[in-house]
Symmetry: C2
Subunit: 319 residues, 2 copies
């Protein structure tokens, strides 16, 4: 019985999904791990996966594809770029997985890209050959799918729309070293910052925010009629709509999906976002659908499994 694995790689654990080749999630399991940099750590991963497989009467030989979702750039040729947030030896991990699961095609996929592919395989974008998933979370990333395939990018920067410049007059510096990137306004941190700045500007006491990315408190305040929260969220929608209108001039997708942590409040800001997109977009592409993503935090696990499966198909087709 053929099996497919999708693995979210984190700093202190992996989250592994066992799938059928048709995209049915059979089980999800969290496996605590040390940093994935040596044989000992790799063995914890492969042993954990083997146990997961055995629980479903799968042997290691049954695994035909294994996707690895990582928080960093992966180029068109599958090469992993610099990973600021986790410790990982990608070549070592691939060697260990290859040895443990000899029939598996293995693919690394960037997290936002993986989320897009997950929606394509088993979510709301199923059957949609051209769409952009925008993940609004700690940062702002996107997965761009065109002609049914991911746009990873020559240098792994495909879908890095969080770094589209939307405000050249910004004085604060973005994590990338530039100024006025979308991520500075539409990430969780950006939304909280816009809110606190507006409160300060008006001399109003803000509602209590738990931490720098606590958008939930801002959206709760908005629901209660907080004027500063409204202005902050409108501003976020304005910058996001501007960036989306630029994206449409490049790849002209049929659909935008909003995912990531902030998407929990999608229903609240969707009307404003749609209105502002209509105002900015090139008339030709005004009617694009703007919807919520559907797979939540499982999307990337689905998506990296799918990409590994597609890689297998492409190599079998000799392409």
């Amino acid at each position: 019985m053929q099996a497919v694995l999708g693995i979210d790689i984190g700093g202190t654990s992996i989250k592994a999904g066992l799938f059928s080749p048709e995209g049915e999630l059979l089980e999800e399991r969290k496996i605590p791990t040390p940093a994935l940099v040596n044989a000992e750590a790799f063995a914890i991963v492969t042993d954990g996966l083997t146990l997961l497989l055995a629980a479903h009467e799968n042997t290691p030989e049954d695994v035909i594809a294994c996707g690895l979702d990582i928080p960093g750039p992966v180029a068109d040729d599958g090469k992993v770029g610099f990973l600021p947030n986790i410790q990982l030896d990608p070549d070592g991990l691939v060697a260990a997985i290859s040895a443990a699961f000899p029939n598996a095609s293995i693919a690394f996929v960037n997290d936002a890209n993986a989320a897009a592919l997950g929606e394509l395989w088993a979510g709301v974008a199923h059957g949609v050959s051209s769409f952009v998933l925008i993940a609004l979370g700690t940062g702002v990333g996107a997965g761009v799918v065109v002609n049914g395939r991911l746009v990873a990018g020559a240098f792994g920067a495909g879908g890095e729309i969080g770094h589209i410049t939307v405000n050249p007059n910004e004085t604060e510096t973005c994590g990338c070293g530039r100024h006025g990137c979308l991520e500075q306004y539409a990430s969780a941190k950006g939304i909280v910052r816009l809110y606190l700045e507006e409160c300060e500007h008006r001399g109003v006491t803000p509602v209590h925010v738990e931490h720098a990315t606590d958008t939930l408190s801002v959206f709760r305040a908005l629901a209660k009629g907080d004027e500063c929260a409204k202005i902050a969220v409108d501003q976020m929608c304005e910058y996001l709509a501007q960036a989306m209108s630029q994206v449409s001039c490049v790849v002209d997708p049929a659909m935008y999906l909003i995912g990531g942590g902030v998407a929990g409040s999608f229903a609240t800001f969707a009307p404003e976002l749609r209105r502002r997109f209509q105002a900015h977009a090139l008339p030709t592409c005004k009617d694009v659908a703007i919807e919520a993503a559907s797979l939540g935090n499982q999307a990337a696990m689905y998506g990296c499994a799918y990409e590994a499966l597609e890689l297998r198909k492409r190599s079998q087709a000799g392409k």
Copy 2:
């Protein structure tokens, strides 16, 4: 002997190229036509093509693919959008070509998109699976190629980078009805306008320009040390570099190719364009190649032929 046709459709003539399936141009022929809106006009096209084929001992049955390059939007599904500059009945033309060349796959392709595919098939982008051709001419268009395939767009607006907003403070209106589009500065008309405005601003008499798109006179003035021409061309490079840095955040190509009429002066402005791109780009994608396109005004003829051939391959593969 299999034959492939690539046809540029203009307002008063077509330019037809007869190609081998391997991409060798056997002959190019201009055929004057009335507006392509009725059976009489379609017959002039098919008769002219049949004569071209006969000159190379090809029968109408030998034509396996026929590409049609048009100045307007073509969506992912091949549907032709509004054409502001020519009169054309696309369905009628396809029916006539199908009847005359029964074995041909037929594809419409937008002109900038066709130019990109031409460079992929037989030009400097041969073997490059991800690149963006930017056509600087009367307007600014682009052809985006990703994973070896064209990004036509869900609404036919793929590669419409001429309508990326680069100057939100612009007061003049772009042809699209919006303000501050790249096309307002980096088209032939835009460059001439920037030059004349700078002369007026400084109270300097400009060199004689023949017409609103006569960039040649501006670049000649630049070569002679004209300060206003230098400022105008630098400004053009600045806006183009800004837009390219946004494009890289979406599709992250391996290469940019500059084509269109203005590309004749590429060597003059390339160093400035590269310098400004480096200054604006996300660090990850700074090292992208920025080069001149290689096929001149034949590129689109090559490219639409190629797309029709690829369409045939895809439909034979059952995709």
